[in-house]
């Protein structure tokens, strides 16, 4: 019987320095406290490439990336996303923060 959800906590060097180990243990503790260990697996993952925004947490199969996750956010993420199926938007990665690269074709100059 496969798990229904997987919580991937980044264990890369950058996130580790941002205390992702505590987040990893916190998720395990919270999942066990809510007796969800048969349906949710907490996994330590490799670098996601968002080191600046760490600790990074990805929840599968919803494919949602949460950035800057602290120990204080764990209870909300589990109760809202994992149990309730509602995304915690304040922690989701915001695409609009990325730098805009304009292609030459789009420039009015040419």
């Amino acid at each position: 019987m496969a798990f229904q959800r997987y919580i991937l906590v980044c264990g890369g060097a950058g996130c580790h320095d941002n205390a992702s180990e505590g987040v990893f243990r916190g998720f395990i503790h919270e999942i066990e406290a809510k007796e969800l260990q048969s349906t949710v697996q907490v996994v330590k993952a490799g670098c996601f490439g968002f080191c600046e925004k760490g600790p990074v947490v990805k929840i599968l199969p919803d494919e949602k990336i949460y950035v800057g996750v602290g120990v204080d956010d764990i209870r909300e993420l589990v109760s809202e996303h994992v149990v309730g199926g509602r995304f915690v938007t304040r922690l989701l990665y915001d695409e609009s923060e990325s730098k805009q690269h304009v292609r030459v074709d789009d420039l009015d100059f040419y």
């Binding site: 697996q41 695409e95 990325s98 730098k99």
Partner: protein
């Protein structure tokens, strides 16, 4: 073989898919893909592939297709192995040596649990799509 109409061609395709275990009845097929670009091979992908092969034979797993492919782009985590199990999200493992390879077969394929500390997942699909749509880089 003479001219073949479209219906016969579709029937032939379905027959061949069934023979390969890929047809409608072959939904239980598990794919294990080893990234064997030059950097993967240099990091020991051949040993990884051989270990996976022997573990699959040892556990008599006939519904698993083991394949090799080119570089998966995870040069910081070579050799990489992608595992696609029906009913589970597609997972890419990194730094897969012989020990981790046997763990992948025993834990991921047989027990349906992810192998800790070796998941090197890609960026989320929505971010990649968003980046392609807006013509920006995701980071």
């Amino acid at each position: 073989m003479g001219r073949m109409n479209l219906n016969k061609l579709r029937a032939l395709r379905e027959q061949k898919r069934r023979e390969l275990g890929l047809g409608e009845g072959g939904n239980n097929t598990i794919y294990v893909v080893v990234g064997m670009g030059t950097s993967g091979i240099a990091a020991g992908a051949r040993e990884t592939f051989a270990t996976l092969n022997s573990e699959l034979e040892f556990h008599e797993l006939t519904n698993v297709i083991l394949k090799q492919t080119g570089s998966l782009g995870l040069d910081h985590a070579e050799p990489p192995v992608e595992v696609r199990v029906p009913g589970m999200p597609s997972i890419i493992y990194g730094k897969v040596d012989a020990v981790v390879a046997s763990k992948i077969v025993r834990k991921h394929i047989l027990e349906r649990t992810l192998v800790n500390a070796h998941v090197f997942d890609q960026r989320a699909v929505d971010i990649v799509q968003g980046a392609q749509l807006s013509g920006t880089e995701a980071r």
